[in-house]
């Protein structure tokens, strides 16, 4: 009996100890994430702030932005009979047939990913004070502003009316957000005007142009430099019909000496490292990066789905173009599954960098600007710029007398087809796409239904997309 009571006490003691041990260990509930870090410490060293800019590049390269929808979305929505969408994804189909539904998830993701990128740049910009080294601070600030400028520009030209379509100071653009999000108390739900967004874009890109050096390369990865800012500024000014500024920014890129045209058209594409012609390219490696142009444009032998066939593209090689000799006409392949003609611009799924700005575009821009302003920008007559492009493609030189807007539009399309220019060029040249006028509401993305809903109805929908 003594023994039993002893034993009971012993067991009770063990129980009590167990209980005390457990109750005293509040850290039993301290479990911290391993793959992520606390926001408080995320931006407290110069290296971390610079890493935030790399994070913004990653966002920018997503298939919802420059790795995909912003490029083929322009090609499909702006298509004027060059291609046929054969795929089963209804979202790109809606773009191609110009009947976008407000709940189109690809359009929604452009918006979401766009602002995610902007928030990433705002985070980096908010922590510039941490960086004491002036060169490094300029580099970080310049790149953050470059990326932010690019994203605002891309979003405003997809979600807002064209600059010249009515009054840009009255037309709704997109919300401008310049501070990193820290809570959801007063989220931005009103659209700034198209003009305000353009002003912000020009501010950002101009700052970037001033802050960035002529080249940044880390581990074989080429980041944005001052000429990328100029190249994008040339696009912005073109869209604003500010041809002189557009031409001079393009000229700055051409005259930098950084870039040269590749000898062959084919050499400009599908390169694992930037070609001499790449002013700006999304960097793709074996382990990272995705390319939805490849997915939709390429044949199955190149890991593509063969969704976009070049059904009417070849009809463009008429008049001032000699289809037989033009290497751009030949730069195609036939799908292994369906046999249709497909562009060869996007056939390196694994590690091909994604061309965003090629030097060829800069020549075309400066040539157009010179033609439109009637001046030889940088002292170069417009036909010389166009002939740079034509020579490489195997075409006869063009005479100054033959240059007109139709010619320029077509030359641009033949050179830059399937690289995301056509929608914006149709708007600039005030032409039409498959019967839809350049300023038709169908050629503008709807504000995603989810955004209207999440704003409690405060965000204004674009015309033509219901109430």
């Amino acid at each position: 009996m003594e023994y039993s009571i002893m034993k009971n006490k012993l067991f009770l003691g063990i129980f009590a100890i167990c209980m005390l041990v457990v109750t005293s260990c509040n850290d039993l509930l301290d479990v911290e994430p391993k793959q992520s870090i606390s926001a408080d410490q995320a931006l407290d060293t110069p290296q971390k702030v610079e890493a935030a800019v790399i994070g913004a590049y990653d966002d920018l390269s997503s298939v919802d932005l420059l790795g995909g929808t912003l490029i083929y979305g322009s090609d499909l929505l702006g298509d004027d009979g060059s291609v046929t969408w054969f795929g089963t994804f209804s979202q790109p189909d809606e773009l191609w047939s110009k009947t976008i539904l407000t709940d189109n998830s690809f359009v929604r993701d452009v918006w979401l990913q766009g602002y995610e990128t902007i928030d990433a740049t705002n985070n980096a910009l908010s922590a510039l004070d941490v960086i004491e080294d002036a060169d490094m601070r300029d580099r970080v600030e310049g790149q953050a502003k470059l990326i932010r400028g690019i994203v605002y520009f891309e979003l405003v030209r997809f979600f807002g009316r064209d600059w010249a379509d009515g009054d840009p100071s009255q037309n709704p653009g997109i919300p401008i957000v310049l501070e990193p999000t820290r809570d959801f108390e007063n989220p931005p739900t009103t659209r700034n005007s198209v003009e305000e967004v353009y002003t912000q874009v020009i501010d950002d890109l101009t700052d970037a142009k001033a802050l960035l050096p002529s080249s940044i390369e880390i581990d074989n990865t080429v980041l944005g430099n001052t000429y990328v800012a100029s190249a994008y500024l040339s696009r912005v000014y073109l869209q604003q019909r500010e041809y002189e500024d557009a031409g001079s920014e393009a000229g700055r890129v051409i005259n930098s000496g950084n870039y040269s045209l590749t000898p062959l058209v084919s050499g400009a594409f599908n390169n694992p490292t930037n070609s001499t012609e790449d002013v700006f390219a999304i960097q793709v490696s074996d382990q990272d990066g995705a390319n939805d142009m490849n997915t939709f444009y390429a044949g199955s032998q190149h890991s593509g789905r063969e969704d976009i066939e070049l059904t009417g593209f070849f009809d463009l090689f008429t008049g001032l173009f000699d289809a037989a000799d033009d290497t751009r006409d030949d730069f195609i392949h036939f799908g292994a599954s369906f046999g249709g003609p497909l562009t060869s611009k996007w056939t390196n799924f694994r590690n091909g960098n994604i061309n965003i700005v090629r030097l060829a575009e800069m020549y075309l821009t400066r040539g157009e600007a010179s033609f439109r302003t009637g001046t030889d920008i940088n002292g170069v007559p417009p036909e010389d710029d166009f002939n740079m492009i034509r020579d490489r493609a195997g075409q006869e030189d063009i005479d100054a007398a033959d240059i007109n807007l139709d010619y320029i539009f077509t030359e641009r399309y033949l050179e830059l087809a399937f690289e995301g220019h056509i929608l914006h060029d149709i708007k600039r040249f005030e032409r039409s796409a498959s019967g839809f006028a350049w300023n038709a509401p169908e050629l503008i993305f709807p504000i995603p239904q989810r955004e209207i809903d999440a704003s409690g109805g405060d965000l204004e929908q674009n015309a033509g997309y219901g109430s």
Binding site: S4, I37, G55
Partner: protein, 1037 residues
């Protein structure tokens, strides 16, 4: 603190205890006898024979029902008990031979139910607990335990996502109580809370319970109301499923062997166009192409291409692609168990092997498992034991429903497309070669047969060890330590032959390893006393800690030397890889007190405090109290004389439970890593929300338990209201913030319902017939989400005032009789401009004066249906005659809708070249005046292909869920061959399905969308359920 409160009763107990220690050693006598079943006269093996009042003196009958036991003189009563029979007490007196006939148990009220940290007699339970005995589910030829109990429990809705093996199954106990947090119940197996999150990596959830051999299960107790569940506090809002595995009984070792073999095929198939119809429909559709007539060379060129040059004009090829997706599936299951022991130690050991083929090609599931359950009495005070199970499962999986590689997507291929490459020399005649056709409209996934591998191997180890010590005769200390360990290896390999689908010309391989360790320990005291005569009190108190850690590594490789090399190690290029770790923990204190006065007035109080690592320091702990009361009216004098009512109990309960089944770090502000090409960076991924706390559900339950005519009819009726507040909601935030959602405590929802259970013994004796019926109604309503629009699935939504997951889309109005355009109800007032320009109009002959439009964007979206059933239930009948038995279970689900997300491809008015369902041909609009729901066929015309009620259909069904017909060899025969039991039986599952559903099978929720709570009732090329028929043999010796 808490310790003091328990020390006092412990000391009390010691005083009582000392009185028992002075007993002297006494004389013994030997009693022998035979136990038989009253109905059949057959001997009963394994009947427990206990000496009443002794501390565990007992034995069990042998294979012939004989027993022999030594009984100390001071005891005079033997208790004979056996599962499924009424226990019987016999006074020994002068007898030395006692033969007993046990009556089969017609009443279930005296069954013991497991309540969490203990068990109670059902009669005394004041909460709502639904029990399913192991007998009900053993040897049912299904893949997992949830399927086995489907239709057998009121208030428990089980829905598999599709007919793939090992695939996720949704279980909802009394409705969904959350929108963004999990709505799956907590599973506790032998005291170990299981981690039931799935580890699938193809987007289609797998079933974490498929690793469990459910033939080892003794009972499943489902805690439904707050009083029952609140002892599990923060984990209990969705109900708790307690699984108890079998133990041994002292006596001769009983072996039980079971073998089952059979086959499966799909419950239902669909009708598709044949080659001739396909050509006719698509030629017409091409002519109607909105951009001009394509019916000539263009469409013929397409047909030439689809038919690979075979003569489509003369029907050379007419492939039945649907048939290719299915296979004749075999099923084989083998179980062997042994149980027995002596008065100190009892055991249950089992081993099982099951090998099932899916009805879908390339799909199979193999499980090998073993179990050891051991109980040992060290001495009168101390008991030890363990429950240990080991299982290995191998699941050959197929792609999720949304992949071209899922077999069901073969139905999209045109019937004029040959299955094999045609012999080029024989064209235009079709001479199949042995090469599968790779020039198909979509990827021909039959090619996966020899060129792809997708295998997931799990090792699952669930076990616990416990010690129980009687600190006194009414105070017991129990400690348990348990582990639920899952190790998973997923291997995928796709060779060069299937590059068309994988995009990897030289092969693609993945290998993924996941280890998920979950350990759990709990310690509690149980105090049992009579405070005074007829005042009984049982109280428990204790604490529990659980820690779960998940580690994962994954690697992807491409460029294999040739198709013979299949391991990632052979890949020239590693194109992806990761290693991650995450964890969470719970620390909890719980207590419960049951008080009753003379078994007549019952009261239960419980409380639990839970701490979770998932919340910030300020909001880490939650308090979950519950109370319930019961009144056994039939024990009152005024009812004692009423013959009709043999038992009547009223009960009521109220309590609060919680839910924390969300991500592991939702309250923290976080940055994650990201990679841009070869450089690494960081990105903001989550904004902090320190205020985040538990989701809470308050549940009120009123119930009546009754027994009529000496419990020939028993039943339960329950009414409940569950109100969930502070929903853990993934709130949509404006995208301009850079984020799309944040988890916040926002909103409320309500479930209320009614449950009825009726059991009746219609006939006893030689012909025995029992009926069980259960019926449940649950009404779910989202009462407040602050105007948020929360979407899931294709068109599911949370809408205030509506049930969770209602279908929100445009309302389809058929084909415009004038021109065959798809039209939609406007569902708002039209503007004058719309009326003037003709986009909005009326089609009086079809829809009276309701406004319709052919502009999809112009039509307003409305609630068009509800994926939640109005009511569900089951009806089972058991018949027994001589050696024969028949068990028939019907299961029904009524009033739910199903949305077919694949409709826009399958029934799309020939919008694209996918083969179409037959109604698109037979019912199509062809000329002005046609009144039909199938708009004009228009190639590339998107004529009615947007999400609308066109693709919604009624999902109600009545199913002959389970039939078992068995024959038991008579005892006389058995004796001659030395067996204690021999049974032959035929089982069928899903034998008949009665439904108006337009798709394959109405029990569906497409796997790639089935993760959330909103995404309900969706179909997308989802495999139908399997109809399985097996022949089984069960032998005991």
């Amino acid at each position: 603190m808490k310790i003091k409160a328990t020390v006092i009763p412990v000391l009390f107990a010691f005083l009582l205890f000392s009185g028992l220690m002075s007993e002297a050693q006494a004389q013994e006598r030997e009693i022998t006898g035979t136990v038989t079943a009253a109905s059949s006269g057959e001997p009963l093996p394994g009947v427990t024979v206990l000496v009443q009042g002794s501390q565990g003196i007992g034995t069990a009958t042998d294979g012939q029902g004989n027993y022999s036991i030594s009984v100390p003189d001071q005891y005079d009563v033997l208790v004979f008990s056996y599962v499924g029979y009424v226990s019987q007490e016999v006074t020994i007196g002068d007898q030395t031979e006692i033969n007993v006939q046990l009556q089969e148990d017609v009443q279930q009220l005296e069954d013991v139910v497991v309540v969490g940290y203990g068990s109670r007699i059902k009669e005394e339970v004041t909460g709502n607990i639904s029990s399913v005995s192991g007998d009900e589910i053993s040897q049912v030829p299904v893949n997992s335990v949830e399927s086995a109990i489907q239709g057998q429990s009121a208030g428990v809705f089980v829905n598999s996502s599709n007919g793939k093996l090992g695939q996720g199954i949704q279980m909802r106990i009394r409705g969904s109580s959350s929108i963004s947090a999990s709505s799956e119940p907590l599973y506790v197996i032998d005291g170990v809370p299981m981690v039931s999150s799935n580890e699938s990596f193809n987007g289609a959830p797998t079933n974490p319970l498929a690793d469990l051999n459910f033939n080892d299960i003794e009972s499943i107790d489902i805690l439904k109301d707050a009083s029952a569940a609140a002892i599990y506090g923060s984990r209990a809002s969705n109900g708790v499923v307690i699984i108890t595995t079998k133990g041994g009984q002292s006596g001769e070792t009983q072996f039980n062997l079971n073998y089952q073999t059979g086959f499966s095929n799909p419950t239902r198939t669909r009708d598709w166009l044949n080659g001739e119809e396909y050509i006719e429909l698509f030629t017409e559709a091409a002519a109607n192409y909105p951009g001009g007539d394509l019916s000539g060379a263009y469409i013929e060129g397409q047909f030439d291409s689809f038919s690979s040059g075979t003569d489509w004009r003369n029907g050379e090829v007419n492939s039945d692609w649907q048939d290719e997706a299915f296979q004749d599936a075999s099923i084989n299951k083998f179980d062997l168990s042994a149980s027995g022991g002596n008065d100190k130690t009892t055991f249950y050991v089992s081993g099982s092997y099951s090998d099932e083929e899916g009805i879908l090609i390339r799909n199979s599931f193999e499980r090998i498992s073993g179990r050891l359950n051991l109980d040992h009495k060290v001495n009168d005070n101390l008991r030890l034991g363990t429950n240990l199970s080991l299982a290995r499962t191998v699941n050959n999986r197929v792609s999720n429903d949304n992949g071209f590689a899922t077999p069901m997507q073969l139905v999209a291929l045109p019937p004029i497309t040959p299955i094999y490459e045609p012999d080029q020399d024989a064209l235009p005649n079709y001479q199949p070669t042995d090469q599968l056709n790779n020039n198909t409209l979509y990827f021909n996934n039959l090619l996966y047969k020899d060129n792809a591998k997708y295998q997931v191997t799990n090792y699952r180890n669930v076990g616990n060890a416990f010690a129980e010590y009687d600190l006194s005769n009414n105070l017991v200390w129990r400690s348990e330590f348990g582990i639920d360990l899952l190790e998973l290896n997923g291997e995928e390999y796709y060779n060069s032959q299937v590059a068309r689908n994988t995009g990897a010309p030289l092969g693609l391989g993945y290998n993924r390893f996941v280890r998920r360790g979950n350990y759990n320990t709990n310690h509690y005291l149980t105090f049992n006393t009579s405070l005074a005569e007829n005042h009984n009190l049982e109280a428990i108190g204790g604490f529990e800690y659980q820690y779960t850690q998940r580690d994962e590594t994954w690697v992807q490789g491409e460029n294999f030397p040739n198709d013979d090399f299949q391991q990632v190690a052979d890949a020239a290029l590693l194109t992806g890889g990761t290693a991650t770790e995450t964890a969470y923990s719970f620390l909890s204190y719980f207590s419960r007190a049951n008080y009753d006065y003379n078994g007549k007035y019952l009261l239960t109080l419980s409380a639990r405090i839970d701490g979770s690592s998932r919340f910030s320091d300020e909001n880490q702990y939650g308090f979950f109290p519950a109370a319930s009361a019961g009144w056994v009216i039939s024990d009152e004098d005024f009812l004692a004389d009423l013959e009709t009512i043999s038992f009547l109990k009223l009960r009521a309960s109220y309590g609060i439970t919680g839910n924390a089944e969300i991500g592991n770090f939702p309250s923290q502000g976080l940055f994650g890593s990201s990679t841009y090409s070869r450089i690494s960076g960081i990105q903001p991924i989550q904004i902090e929300n320190q205020d985040l706390k538990w989701e809470q559900t308050a549940q009120l339950d009123f119930g009546v338990d009754f027994g009529l005519f000496e419990d020939r009819i028993t039943g339960e009726v329950d009414y409940y209201i569950k109100n969930t507040e502070d929903l853990l909601l993934n709130v949509n935030v404006p995208g301009a913030t850079g984020y799309s959602v944040q988890t916040q405590n926002l909103g409320k929802l309500e479930n209320k319902g009614f449950e009825l259970v009726l059991n009746s013994v219609n006939s006893v004796g030689e012909f025995a017939w029992n009926t069980s019926f259960n019926f449940s109604i649950n009404r779910n309503k989202v009462t407040d989400i602050d105007g948020q629009v929360i979407e899931g699935g294709y068109i599911n939504r949370a809408v205030e005032g509506e049930a969770i997951g209602v279908f929100f889309a445009r309302e389809f109005a058929g084909a415009n009789p004038a021109n065959g355009d798809a039209i939609y109800f406007l569902n708002r007032d039209p503007s004058q401009a719309e009326l003037d320009n003709g986009t909005v109009f009326q089609v009086n002959e079809m829809h009276g004066d309701r406004y319709v439009t052919n502009s999809f964007n112009a039509a307003e979206r409305v609630v068009i249906g509800n994926p939640n059933p109005d009511f569900t239930g089951g009806l089972s009948n058991r018949f027994q005659y001589k050696g024969f038995d028949l068990n028939v279970l019907f299961q029904f689900v009524y009033g739910n809708d199903i949305y077919n997300g694949g409709g826009r491809f399958q029934s799309a008015s020939a919008d694209y070249f996918d083969n179409q369902t037959r109604d698109q041909y037979t019912d199509r609009w062809q000329e002005p005046g046609d009144i039909t729901d199938v708009p004009q066929a228009r190639l590339f015309g998107a004529n009615g292909t947007g999400d609308s009620s066109r693709y919604l259909s009624d999902g109600s069904y009545l199913r002959l869920k389970k039939v078992t017909f068995g024959y038991n060899l008579p005892a006389s025969t058995l004796e001659t061959i030395g067996l204690s039991k021999a049974r032959v039986y035929l089982s069928g599952v899903n034998l008949l399905t009665f439904t108006d559903y337009e798709g394959w099978d109405p029990e569906v929720n497409t796997d790639y969308l089935s993760g959330g709570n909103l995404s309900l009732g969706n179909d997308f090329y989802s495999a139908p359920q399997a109809r399985t028929i097996t022949l089984g043999l069960n032998v005991g010796f």
